[in-house]
Amino acid sequence: MTPTLQVFLIVSAAMFSIGLLAALSRRHAIFILIGIEMMLAAANLNFIAFWRFGPQHQPPIGVMIALFSIAIAAAEAAVGLAMVIAVYRHYHTTNVDQLDQLRG
């Protein structure tokens, strides 16, 4: 049995849903970031899968988009974790439910 494009997309959808689960359910700021990273990885998997199964071009467009998206995700993770550290220093907590100073 050779895997079709559908099974790759279903694995990617499962990865996205797990990332969504982490981002919505965890109350710890670092794990919301981990969830976002997993959703981005699922999108990258989709790009690579569509590139592999689609018509072949030069340059390889799907690979290029995945490479740039990985670079942007790395920058996002660095800034996000710096924000978690800054928030922790200020409020002495990383629980997002307790960061409600701006709530009306």
Binding site: M15, I34, I70
Partner: protein, 160 residues
């Protein structure tokens, strides 16, 4: 493309991702996150994008996972406490997965096999990066510099 390899990688990746999303111990969850990204990289290798898979391992397992572990250690006093779990998120995630799977299985044109492909060499990626994608490459360089400076400014000691 090998079906057995696909099934093994899929089970390992999704199990590690689920562990990263649900384990109450933060350090265990961060290490499961690293394992999940090794699995994603294995998928990239399976799909013939070896360079992207290698870049993913270097960036995520080498840098981002270490950064997350450092952040957990720096916010240590808070890390031991479990902040609880919101079951509403699980329902939303299951609904999204169900909807996506239904849409993917309903679209018959997606049930195709991989066409024959010439090997994607690093030379081809480098040529594309230096010709067609040279402006995006410069912009990513600028973005990474801005992110570096921004992250440094964010964690500077606050003046009182």
């Amino acid at each position: 493309m090998n079906g057995a390899a696909f099934v093994i990688i899929a089970i390992g990746t999704l199990a590690a991702a689920l562990a990263a999303a649900t384990l109450p111990n933060l350090m265990h969850a961060a290490l499961s996150f690293a394992v999940a990204f090794v699995g994603i990289a294995a998928f990239f290798f399976l799909l013939g994008a070896e360079f992207v898979g290698l870049a993913l391992v270097f960036i995520y397992v080498g840098a981002v996972a270490v950064l997350i572990v450092f952040t957990i250690l720096l916010t240590h006093r808070d890390a031991g406490k479990d902040h609880g779990f919101n079951w509403g998120g699980a329902i939303v995630a299951l609904a999204v997965f169900g909807g996506l799977t239904w849409a993917i299985l309903k679209t018959q044109s997606l049930a195709m096999l991989a066409p024959h492909m010439a090997t994607l060499t690093v030379k081809r990626i480098g040529t594309a990066l230096m010709t067609t994608y040279v402006w995006p490459l410069q912009c990513v360089g600028l973005l990474l510099t801005a992110a570096l400076i921004g992250a440094l400014i964010l964690v500077l000691e606050e003046k009182r």
